[in-house]
């Protein structure tokens, strides 16, 4: 699926498309340059899921977790991860993702997922790629589901 985002409100349309199939144990992989809107999209996701807090950048804290009333699929928690600073897969183990997913009610939204190596292997993923038009700043967003 492809989307054009030219206003902040447009992210909600992308969020809806991502959330429709989102089950516990899935990972949303977000890619795009600095300032593309990855965190803004996570804010739109959280708002639609009924999270009371507004997600903030997890760059320094590495991960932040958000709870909400369960969806029809039993999803009740979204963990926002920024793997930008992780240099190797062995560093990524510190996030304790197995433990975080074990409860069966959690999905991940991951920035810089390539730094997590094979840690997301075996998870159904939703790939979100954001391109920024250098001229007018319009975002072109593609959403792809991989089982």
């Amino acid at each position: 699926m492809k989307f054009i985002v030219s206003r902040v409100e447009d992210w909600d349309v992308v969020a809806r498309a991502i959330l429709e199939p989102l089950h516990p144990g899935m990972a949303i992989r977000l890619t795009g340059p600095l300032g593309a809107g990855k965190t803004t999209l996570v804010q739109a996701l959280a708002q639609r899921l009924g999270v009371k807090r507004i997600p903030k950048s997890p760059t320094f804290s590495l991960m932040r977790s958000y709870s909400f009333p369960p969806t029809i699929f039993g999803l009740a928690r979204l963990i926002h991860i920024d793997a930008y600073r992780l240099e190797s897969v062995s560093d990524a183990h510190v996030l304790g993702l197995d433990e975080e997913l074990a409860g069966g009610d959690t999905a991940l939204a991951v920035e810089w997922a390539e730094n997590l190596g094979h840690l997301l292997d075996g998870l159904a993923c939703i790939d979100v790629k954001i391109d920024v038009d250098p001229g007018d700043g319009v975002r072109r967003v593609s959403v792809l589901f991989t089982a």
């Binding site: 600095l34 507004i54 903030k56 320094f60 804290s61 590495l62 600073r85 240099e87 304790g96």
Partner: protein, 344 residues
Amino acid sequence: MKSLRILGIETSCDETAVSVLLVSKTSVTVEQDLVSSQIPIHQKYGGVVPEVAARSHVPETVSLITQALGGGMAFDAIAVTSGPGLATALRVGIEAARVLAWLSGKPIVGVNHLEGHLASAWLNPENRKRWKFPLLALVVSGGHTELVLMKDFAKYRIIGETRDDAAGEAFDKTAKLMGLPYPGGPQIAKLALEGNAEMFLLPRPMMKDPSFDFSFSGLKTAVRLAWEPWMKGPTERQEQAKRDLAASTQQAIIDVLIDKTTRAAKKFKVCGVLLVGGVSANEALRTQLAHRLEQELPVVAFLPSDRKYITDNAAMIAAAGAWNLWRGKKSDWKKLDADPERSL
């Protein structure tokens, strides 16, 4: 009032720190203040690397505690950072503190890292003389941008905070867009000294918004768009443009911070304004905030932390521990655990 000797332990992010403070309501003696910075490792990676951080916290914590206590148990209480922060890093300090609490039978208190930053301003004796509630604190660092109203010791309310990126992160990320090394804040401040802050017109996000919240995320796109044409230009013009853009970016961040802080200080009729956290090292922010307060609120005391306590340290954690103990707030060593999402 009896003095308390408090052992402070901080391992929430990239510094391992241990301190011993002798504290009463009127005096503070910093007996030990040990920090083992991991900055060189992180410079290599361009940021905080958690497992590297957590791994080296273990030997560092043991070594610093031994050094601070000299093998004895000469303390009355233990204060340890329990959040917010990285769970794996926090647990290193917490486990050490729990063992010491169990062995010594002394009280333990899990301190909020943010509260530690507030207490960093109180470590300065000049600030303590002018310390009168209510106070307003601007907490600015790589991971935090908050305006905190302090009604008393250990009695706080967050009245404004960033909705996306922290101010320190805005410095680091815009620096990265300009091709500057990590950490970006000091780099921008240095270049800004020789730059013209009026060369680039950058947005002041949410400055006119009536709330006390901040938003620095949009600045990245603005800086990228401003920098792009210069990036392709001739090198000698590029260098001056970089200095001007650094100055303009710094001023955009500072303007919003100062405006909201001054507005909040007026609204809540505070007696003093604290400036704490890593970004408070920024000289332009310090002098401009001091100046603005002097102009508009001459009776309000400006209470910045000493430079030696603005980055993560354990002296501020021990001080915040004292505040909590005065109010009767203690933790149970059997139950104390990391609280990565802890808020004030």
